[in-house]
Amino acid sequence: MKPSYLELDWKLIAAALALSLIGIALIMSAQYGTRPDSEPVYFLRQIVWLVIALFVSAAVLRVPLRLFELGAYLFYAFAVLLLILVLLVGSARMGASRWFSFGPINFSPSDLAKLALIVALSRFFAYTKFPPTSKRRLAVSALLAVVPAILVLKQPDLGTSLVFFVILAALWFWSGLSPWYLLVIVSPLAALFAATNEVLLVLYFAVLLGGLFLLRPGLLFAVIAVAANLGSAMITQLVWNRLERYQQLRLEAFLNPATDPRGAGYQIIQSKIAIGSGGFWGKGPFHGSQARLDFLPEQHTDFVFSVLGEEYGLWGALIVLGLFTFILYRSIRIAGRCRSRFISNLVVGTVAVLMFQYLVNVGMTLGLMPVTGLPLPFVSYGGTSLVLCWVIIALIVQAEHHRLDY
């Protein structure tokens, strides 16, 4: 059944479109007056990308969701194959091979892989007979996520590979895993950070053991959880040494921006100055001096939110935050109303991607999160990211339309 256009969730589409247009205005502003001749005019390119994204989105609207469900594992296998291929033959840029180049267009298969994982996990959780905490269920679903995550990590792209785990965690949760259980499972990650400080580590283990005592998940599980935490606390140093120098700098700079005022810390300081100096009303379009004077790094991609904060002030930033909250809130409500478990999972998986990138990106520009190269959905410059966001919108709109189907 083709959706009739009148019955679509136009409010959701309008919010996404508003974010995309705001993005174009900000990208234009970020380059205004400072563009060297050699640099492309990014906002014009972004307009072209938006048109493409809207077409792709309209096309996805016409693909029955049932088809995604049937082809889920095929799609997943195809995406994993592309990830392997890009490592072998992809064009290396900035020391990372993430793209297939077709003339002027660079296609990054990791965005496709995010969708593929969402679809595959959605189908797996929709039909599996095992209870949420069964080891079989946890292991198979974890394997599905780990394969693409490791391939993306090889590119290397730490930020994106985290997204795969976020999708996994979101769907574990949505398909019935208790949040406490989830916390215990991700706790070794927290142990990595806790291990940087002895006092913190002792406190952390006290909380962990207390939690396990209250949760009473069974002896074997508890032993494994404690062992995993101890293990990851011990390998903190190893992991730290394995990180690229720039990743170490970013983490250090997040903990204390003053340690590296030139590199990562510099970005955080300048971003905070930009947003803070915007005040309530902002400096006005094209009047952001931080952006104008090239103080802001990566203004058109990762730090586009800083340009917003500087030029449009608190009210502008609140509008964008509001639009994001609206989209996420509405999508989650849609997920809750879907009768089909597959469709419901699909929506939550896509929402998790948007939510995580939004959290990490805005958090970074406000100095509340470490610097990771994840773009702000809909707003940041970048073709594949924009297309992915609009595919996600198409999927959610379809889900809303078919919420009564099984």
Binding site: P36, P132, A274, G279
Partner: protein, 614 residues
């Protein structure tokens, strides 16, 4: 776990997270934009921190005795700040002052611009007069400033340009290449590090090969900049010092280099390579005629550039590395060596007597000696450079066997010398002729040409010198190199360890026979370079006269001295000058005489190079 959450409450948790994120960000925004607003706005308005790179002077270069080859001198660079120019157009007065037309200035600004607010260099090495005018009449030149930079100076510019190369403003390609390198160890996510545009980087020669080392590492000053981007002062006295590049000590001996250039001076064009066969050190490397590397330190006027590039003698061609010539008779030791190794002849074999020529197919191939050489053994065939003897060896071995020996002696490959560009030459074999002439459409007589280093065989003077180094060093060829050691400012010293490139495909017996032949060329009664005989030291070598279709013969000579324990191999080619024994041999003789003289004067330096013997 036993109590699975109701779907409704799972949804509520997610919605709660979304709202919590909203609140979290709102608090973050309120803190920055309302609570800290006045403080951050002040920082933004008045206290911008501008990251200003500190560019250290490039490392200096000396010869093996410590005499300066490349150094730096202070110079003025005129810059413009695009944002402060009226309508973004450089003032007419500037074009008058600098003697560059407005279009040229605009072009240079567009080429080098990083940001509209940062100074863009438009004229390097400006004269004191220009700076004086700028100082006195500043209001006539809106947006024009100047800064003091270091310009490269080559005290012996014409002598040394064959290996120094020069520096020039970084092109877009340089910047892209460097940025992708820098990205690996720094946090620069910019697509291109535009700050490098217009910075000086090495072009050609040593300056290019060791560019990253010579550049040193850039420092940083954090400066407070006002909204109008005027520098107010240093920020919290934070700075990272720049580190000057290392002082590079070359293997070159400037005196020998001067002797090499002087020896070529009376001719049109030519090249000299002097190598130490024991370790591959390049003692002199001359390309004649050359250009003065100093002219590239300031802006090269278009007119001068045209004169240089239109010169029929090609002063920009680096002849020792990129000049391709037929080796002529200098290759005969290779032909004989190959024949001995293949068992085609032994040291006593005398082939058909030379009567001044040899019929092959439907024509006669001549020997250079019209009277003929008569019956010769291999050693004397090299001594007297008999062509007919070589023709016969060529016919017996065939094109491909001979080509395989050329191959094993390094011809057709780079020598991997530490300079950025070198030619590989041409080593024809059956496959080559088949592709160029068609299968079976070429005459077997071509091997006759190849056996005397004529026809389509092409080598560089460096390759030939390298081959003779192998002959002089028991068959072991060391990789030629120009840098002996680098002394870093922190006291660290890295010395170049000699490397073995390859070993000649000759047995010790063959090698000693070939060396005996090279001795006879100078010392023998029938030798072609008898004129070089000298009572003070023993010299060996081989002459060559390479025919070329474009004019008179090229004159070759490769000399080895002293023969008891060879320390130097000198290869010289003089283009279109005539017979090897008449022109190139005396040229090499002068250079080797200079080396022997220096060796007596400077035992310490000679001893120092002995120490490095493995």
């Amino acid at each position: 776990m036993h109590r699975t959450l109701h779907p409704e409450s799972r949804q509520k948790i997610l919605l709660g997270i979304v709202l919590a994120m909203f609140l979290f960000f709102c608090l973050g925004l309120i803190k920055l934009q309302l609570i800290q607003h006045s403080q951050l706005a002040r920082q933004s308005d008045r206290n911008h921190i501008r990251v200003v790179p500190l560019v250290p002077p490039r490392g200096e270069v000396t010869d093996r005795t410590g005499r300066t080859i490349i150094t730096n001198r202070p110079s003025f660079t005129v810059t413009v700040i695009p944002a402060e120019m009226d309508d973004g157009v450089p003032p007419m007065s500037l074009s008058w002052l600098l003697g560059l037309d407005t279009a040229e200035i605009s072009f240079r600004v567009r080429k080098n611009i990083q940001s509209r607010y940062l100074p863009v260099p438009v004229r390097r090495d400006a004269s004191d007069t220009i700076i004086a005018v700028l100082e006195e009449q500043a209001d006539r030149f809106p947006g024009v400033t100047y800064l003091v930079e270091q310009a490269r100076e080559y005290p012996a510019g014409l002598l040394t340009e064959g290996f120094t190369g020069y520096v020039a403003e970084a092109s877009r390609e340089n910047v892209v290449r460097d940025s992708s390198k820098a990205r690996q160890d720094q946090y620069h996510m910019l697509p291109i590090d535009y700050r490098l545009l217009g910075r000086l980087v090495g072009r050609e020669g040593l300056e290019k090969q060791y560019d990253l080392q010579l550049r040193g590492s850039e420092g940083t000053i954090y400066k407070e900049v006002s909204a109008a981007v005027q520098v107010r002062g240093e920020y919290e006295s934070k700075m990272e010092a720049a580190v000057v590049g290392p002082t590079v000590e070359m293997t070159i001996d400037l005196d020998l280099q001067a002797a090499a250039v002087a020896a070529l001076d009376t001719f049109c064009c030519g090249a000299v390579v002097a190598l130490d066969p024991r370790n591959g050190e390049v003692l002199a490397l001359a390309s004649f005629p050359g250009y003065d590397a100093n002219i590239f330190s300031s802006v090269v006027p278009e007119s001068l550039w045209q004169v240089i590039s239109a010169d029929p003698r090609h002063p920009l061609l680096n002849r020792p590395l990129k000049g391709l010539y037929p080796p002529g008779s200098t290759i005969k030791p290779l032909t004989v060596g190959a024949a001995l190794e293949e068992g085609v002849i032994d040291e006593t074999t005398t082939l058909r007597a030379c009567t001044g020529g040899m019929p092959f197919g439907n024509r006669v191939f001549h020997c250079w000696q019209e009277r003929g050489h008569g019956s010769l053994t291999a050693v004397h065939a090299i001594e007297q450079s008999c062509d007919v003897f070589m023709y016969q060896l060529g016919v017996k071995m065939g094109v491909d066997v001979l080509s395989r020996y050329y191959d094993k002696c390094g011809f057709g490959y780079k020598t991997r010398i530490d300079l950025p560009e070198e030619a590989i030459g041409n080593n024809p074999n059956t496959e080559y002729y088949d592709t160029n002439y068609g299968k079976g459409k070429w005459s077997k007589a071509l091997v006759l040409n190849n056996s005397i280093g004529q026809g389509e065989v092409l080598v560089t003077p460096l390759q030939l010198a390298q081959f003779y180094c192998g002959l002089a060093n028991n068959g072991v060829v060391c990789r030629p190199h120009l840098v002996r050691r680098m002394a870093y400012p922190d006291g660290r010293v890295t010395a170049t360890v000699p490397q073995v490139s390859f070993t000649l495909p000759f047995s010790p017996r063959t090698l000693s026979l070939l060396n005996e032949a090279l001795r006879l060329v100078v010392q023998g009664s029938g030798g072609t370079a008898r004129s070089l005989r000298n009572p003070q030291y023993s010299l060996g070598g081989k002459t060559g006269t390479a025919q070329n279709p474009h004019g008179r013969d090229h004159s070759w000579f490769v000399g080895i001295a002293p023969l008891e324990a060879p320390e130097i191999v000198v290869c010289a080619i003089v283009e279109n000058a005539g017979h090897g024994s008449e022109i190139a041999a005396p040229t090499v003789g002068k250079i080797i005489a200079k080396y022997m003289e220096l060796r007596a004067e400077r035992p310490r330096v000679a001893a120092a190079s002995d120490e490095e013997q493995p």
